[in-house]
């Protein structure tokens, strides 16, 4: 048994169909999407935003977008879950970037945010062995892998990564760029 659970889409729930129903104004379909997807969406948003209230804000906004834009989702051209999470990540990152600048203004002490963050290596363990993301990340040097992982999962900026990893900004940027080239070649 090579396939891990993470690889298998949750059974039964037909997200593309539910989106189609939303486009027709079916509120129950939106609720069904909420029941099926909101817990995981909250988890993704929490990793980015770290605060429950902000994570809920991102999920709330995402569902409002989904309701309004369900008609523009075309199942023939893209995967519904990817669509949903892209909307969520966009929203969460916008909140995060806005917030972190507020924090800057307030001389917020960034150390307080670090503690509940999962480190890059244990995040790696959560990835399915069968997937190419894990296999290809494993080819990167640990510090570069860490930079990419913290950027995606926790939404760290170049500057925050430099601070966290204790290297100059320019180094972080070139780590990321080279890692992306390597990932692209490995995952094509």
């Amino acid at each position: 048994m090579k396939a891990a659970l993470g690889d298998v889409a949750p059974p039964a729930f037909d997200l593309p169909h539910a989106l189609g129903q939303c486009a027709k104004g079916d509120r129950l379909a939106l609720r069904a999407i909420y029941d099926s997807e909101a817990p995981r969406m909250l988890g993704v948003a929490m990793r980015l935003l770290r605060r429950r209230a902000l994570a809920e804000e991102a999920v709330h906004d995402t569902f409002v977008q989904v309701w309004q834009k369900a008609a523009s989702f075309d199942p023939a051209r893209g995967e519904a879950r990817a669509w949903l999470y892209a909307v969520l990540r966009n929203r969460a990152l916008n909140i995060l970037r806005g917030e972190s600048r507020t924090d800057l203004v307030e001389d917020f002490e960034p150390m307080g945010l670090v503690s509940d963050e999962e480190d890059a290596e244990s995040l790696m363990l959560r990835l399915s062995d069968a997937g190419s993301l894990k296999r290809c990340l494993e080819r990167l040097e640990p510090s570069r892998r860490q930079a990419i992982t913290l950027a995606y999962i926790h939404g760290l900026s170049h500057g925050e990564l430099a601070g966290r990893l204790g290297v100059p900004l320019g180094t972080v940027k070139s780590w990321i760029r080279r890692s992306l080239v390597s990932l692209r070649e490995c995952m094509t």
Binding site: G6, D7, A23, G25, R27, L30, A38, P39, R40, L42, G43, V44, M46, E56, E57, V59, H60, D61, F63, V64, Q65, W67, Q68, K69, A70, A71, S72, F73, A76, R77, E79, A82, W83, Y85, V87, R89, N94, I95, R97, G98, R101, T102, V105, L123, R126, L127, S128, G131, S132, L133, I148, T149, Y152, H158, R177, L180, V181, L183, R184, M187
Partner: protein, 242 residues
């Protein structure tokens, strides 16, 4: 732009790493370039396994209730005819965020408020120059005064930008206040140009001393969510005018 730069831009957009000028470049490409949208889609797929690794957190009825009430209050879904009549491209998703017409739809309320604000200006201009009740000097992130905000007894408010307040292209700035220090910010008005603006705070209680005012950068029609979404560029607290 070299092919590698193009792809790197797409990847860093998905990672959320783009800042400043590059962010604007990527936003424009998303709106205009199908190849770029395809690259973005590829990177989304490459990283999507990570989304599956997040813990599931209980999503309660309270959050659903908020979503439902927002959905009820929101304008009717975007014109379906036009969405159906043209073939959807892979970049449909990106355009949700980038397209002005979408923000217009979402921000209809904000736009309406801005319109009322504009109409109101002429009226208020007549009986301007009365003694303010409260004054707040809003400081930018360099701690320099960026705008002065005065509130008047009749609920009017006047915002005078100082120096070179700039509003990013295709954006607005939105004024917020915190009537309840522990509560969420409440929108006071949306500005698309850095010039003196008058607004009303009729729906809000008379500002109290030390009440916080902030200004954030938002989409052209104002925040789509009713809360600040962009960076806060100025802030300050009110004091009684002597």
């Amino acid at each position: 732009m070299r092919r590698d730069d193009f792809d790197r831009l797409a990847a860093e957009h998905v990672l959320g790493l783009l800042e400043g000028e590059e962010r604007g470049v990527a936003d424009n490409l998303l709106a205009s370039d199908g190849d770029f949208r395809n690259l973005v889609e590829l990177w989304r797929q490459r990283f999507s396994a990570w989304d599956e690794t997040a813990d599931e957190l209980p999503a309660g009825d309270a959050l659903w209730a908020r979503i439902e009430s927002s959905v009820s209050a929101a304008p009717v879904a975007a014109p379906r005819a036009s969405a159906a009549s043209r073939p959807a491209s892979p970049g449909v998703l990106e355009r949700i965020w980038e397209s002005l017409s979408f923000w217009r739809t979402v921000g209809l309320a904000g736009a309406a408020a801005a319109l009322l604000m504009g109409l109101g200006m002429g009226f208020f201009a007549i009986k301007a120059s009365r003694q303010p009740v409260m004054i707040a000097v809003l400081l930018n992130d360099a701690n320099q005064p960026g705008a002065v905000l005065s509130t008047f007894e009749d609920g009017r408010m006047e915002l005078v930008p100082l120096g070179d307040m700039t509003i990013p292209h295709n954006h607005s700035v939105q004024v917020w206040t915190f009537p309840d220090p522990a509560g969420p910010p409440v929108s006071v008005g949306v500005l698309r140009a850095a010039r003196t603006a008058r607004m009303t705070m009729d729906d809000l209680p008379q500002p109290h001393s030390n009440q916080l005012f902030t200004i954030s950068v938002e989409p052209l029609a104002g925040s789509p969510t009713g809360l600040p979404t962009g960076p806060v560029v100025m802030k300050g607290t009110a004091s009684a005018a002597l």
